[in-house]
Symmetry: C2
Subunit: 467 residues, 2 copies
């Protein structure tokens, strides 16, 4: 079967390129109010592409902002699992335009890559799905897929998915599924197939310390009244011990430690320290003792200072005891930490570190984002691993962890199904930056993997997926 | 003699009031370029007043900025010590003008007080000297003072004395003296005569920590590279232990501890905790364990955070690892700490607290200001104490300490003579604020004390003053 899928994909790769060329010309930048019509046109283009691919149900779903596309194709197999594929049709802005070597909305093939805004994030990845689906139908000889497919393609992901949770809630029954496939991520390298197995969640806090009701002369009052800037520094310094371990009581209570197998696989992930330092323009590695950089970034929660301020900010000096000071903190969470518990733990910690005479106010940014995790021993991940392995002719698909998070946790929370990540972006795709590209061979591998994946899921059946 | 001095002062108080009324009408605000002519007029007015008082030598001393007044009256006694009296003829700005109840340059007597800008700081205090000198001459029957008097009256004190050190260096020979009397301070209360015996010095530092060369996404890099904002917080937090004791090695090495007698006298200084909290609009006392608030403010060195900053400063959140962070620190010094040693100690401490991967840069504001101290067992202070005691009919003159510092350390350094503080301002004089006033009875006491002081110094003689 492998060769049949590959042959079909190879034989029809021109169709994928033609689709890419057409769709990438639509500048659907969701964060720019002036691009609203283009984002709608982008949704309509993809809806039409789904119809051409054979989906019997294709709908444009309006939101309070920009529309999503929904496509559904039921399997005639009564035991077929239902798969929800998530992606997005909007793209990032293109500034600074002068750094682009080609027009961002004039798709340009340059040897093994195609350059255009959205080529990798996320239009290319959605289009490999359409080709993969055709390959799946061709090699199985079916006139409907072996799994019931539902595509949910958002139009506001690049502007923070402000209406997505409402859409999920509103359409929850239509979106019901047995497994979720996220197609908006990447792999480690062209020859190192991998899959995201975790995304960190987050809570964001701003702690404000108020001392004297006005800035005081430090000669007349310094050393005799509480200084909120010093208090903020002491609070911030208390967040970690010398080993980089977060000191908030209970912070690690719900953390699911990496299994031995996960640590072993993560250790096999190529990581070039000097390249990481060059990318981060940093001069040293740092972080929690006892963990590798990849483990720190993907599998360990953090407390990070995003901003600190208080007192005199200008040039030179001003000898005051400041009235106010603040620190902005972000906490990255991993499974199974819950934003609400972390907020409570942070509040208790801050209260404990508020000195006498200092008034404290904590502001929280929304409710926070839960982390999500794909346990590597689940049937869904095993099936994904086999499908990717078949496309890349390997037994080893490395699990990776993402440091940040998108709307994935919201999808999982709303739909309560296992989730896997099938994405074929590469680290050098320059998504969100000038000269975005996609490597065409990765799109073909993605199409193959998708074709195999529907077969794998069908073979497991609904019961097998959730066992 | 006491009664004679008092009678003379009482009988001639109208002269002082007339002088005050004339001089206070001249708005010599040194920090306002537009007031340059008024500051010069103010200098000329005081020079003329000195001539009227009998000084045979009166000069206007130009500087690179605004002029000082110098007046000299030699004693005919060959053993007479030479006394340098320091004050300033310039005044603070008057903004916000709308908060004044009377015109700041329309001197207004309101019962026991006279309101005008400069009434207490420092014109009233210089004028009590002229009356005191007349009283001294009258009661001793001399036609020249029993001590050689030199008045140095600066014109830029309220704008930071930018040209004063140069003036001291240029005129050092003319200014040579056996004792320095600073007349620009105050007493604890109308019925609690006191004298400043220490002024804290200062060094000012800004520490800049540089981490990554650009702000990084905290999801992709947070927890794996050094965060300069956290490093600045840790450095700042390390400055003090839980007892408020500065942790910089060597910081206290040169500190002259309070003597038992000084602590005893300081403890007799009235201090109203709730009033101090109300004035400082603070909710708690804080500081170095083992010392009272007055000791903390006057006799103990401090490390104070004047400003801290780094990373995102706007509303809401931005999930970054900042590239840069800073802390602005002021260190108040007490005798016998030296600014240069403290700078070296701070530099070593900062170096030790700069984590791997963080680049550190320390900026120093000028050379710093040395502390100054009046040992209470010196003949000069004992003489001052007797003179003030005679004016206030008491044996007890409380030594006080000032938290901040003016140009006094520079004077002492340039002239290498013992220094005492004769000043009759009161804590509620509102100097530097709207509705500045002086309490007239304090000016009369000041005149009496000055008259007594010249007799006391003359009785000691040159040798007795420095023994």
């Amino acid at each position: 079967v492998t060769n049949d899928v590959r042959s079909f994909v190879t034989d029809h790769s021109a169709d994928l390129l033609a689709d890419l060329d057409a769709w990438l010309r639509i500048p659907g930048i969701s964060s720019q109010p002036g691009s609203r019509a283009d984002v709608i046109r982008s949704a309509e283009w993809f809806a039409d592409a789904c119809r051409r691919a054979g989906f019997p149900i294709v709908e444009i779903w309006p939101t309070a902002g920009l529309p999503a596309v929904y496509a559904e194709w039921a399997s005639d197999d009564p035991d077929a699992p239902t798969v929800l594929v998530y992606g997005h049709h909007d793209v990032q802005p293109v500034d600074p335009l002068e750094l682009w070597h080609t027009d961002p909305f004039e798709p340009t093939i340059d040897g093994p890559v195609l350059r255009a805004r959205g080529a990798s994030d996320d239009k290319g990845q959605l289009l490999f799905h359409l080709l993969g689906l055709r390959a799946h139908l061709a090699v199985t000889g079916r006139d409907n897929p072996a799994v019931t497919l539902k595509f949910l393609v958002e139009g506001e992901e690049e502007s923070g998915s402000p209406n997505f949770e409402a859409l999920l809630a509103e359409r929850r029954e239509r979106l019901a599924c047995d497994v979720i496939v996220i197609t908006d991520t990447g792999m480690l390298a062209e020859d190192i197939p991998s899959s995201v197995t975790g995304m960190r969640g987050m809570v964001l806090a701003e702690v404000n310390f108020h001392g004297p009701d006005l800035d005081l002369h430090s000669g007349s009052f310094g050393g005799a009244v509480p200084n909120p800037a010093e208090a903020v520094a002491r609070l911030t310094a208390a967040l970690h011990d010398a080993d980089g371990r977060v000191q908030i009581p209970g912070f690690y209570d719900d953390v699911l430690e990496l299994t031995d197998r996960e640590r072993e696989l993560l250790a096999r992930t190529p990581f070039d320290e000097s390249e990481f330092l060059a990318t981060s323009k940093s001069r040293a590695l740092a972080g929690e003792a006892g963990y590798s950089t990849l483990e720190r970034l993907g599998a360990r929660p953090t407390a990070e200072v995003n901003g600190i301020g208080g007192g005199y900010q200008g040039a030179g000096s001003k000898t005051i005891v400041p009235s106010d000071a603040f620190v902005k903190l972000s906490f990255r969470l991993v499974a199974n930490q819950r934003p609400a518990s972390i907020r409570a733990a942070v509040e208790a910690f801050v209260a404990e570190h508020t000195p006498p005479g200092i008034e404290c106010r904590i502001g929280w940014e929304a409710d926070g984002v839960a982390p999500c995790l794909v346990p590597i021993d689940t049937p869904a991940f095993q099936a994904l691993s086999r499908a990717i392995g078949a496309a890349f002719d390997t037994d080893l698909v490395l699990p990776t962890r993402e440091g940040g998070s998108g709307p994935e946790a919201a999808i999982q929370k709303a739909l309560q199904a296992p989730m896997v990540f099938l994405g074929v972006g590469l680290p050098d795709d320059q998504i969100h930056a000038p000269n975005e590209k996609v490597t065409l061979s990765m799109l073909y591998k993605g199409a193959e993997a998708a074709a195999h994946l529907w077969g794998e899921f069908a073979a497991l059946g609904r019961a097998g997926l959730t066992s």
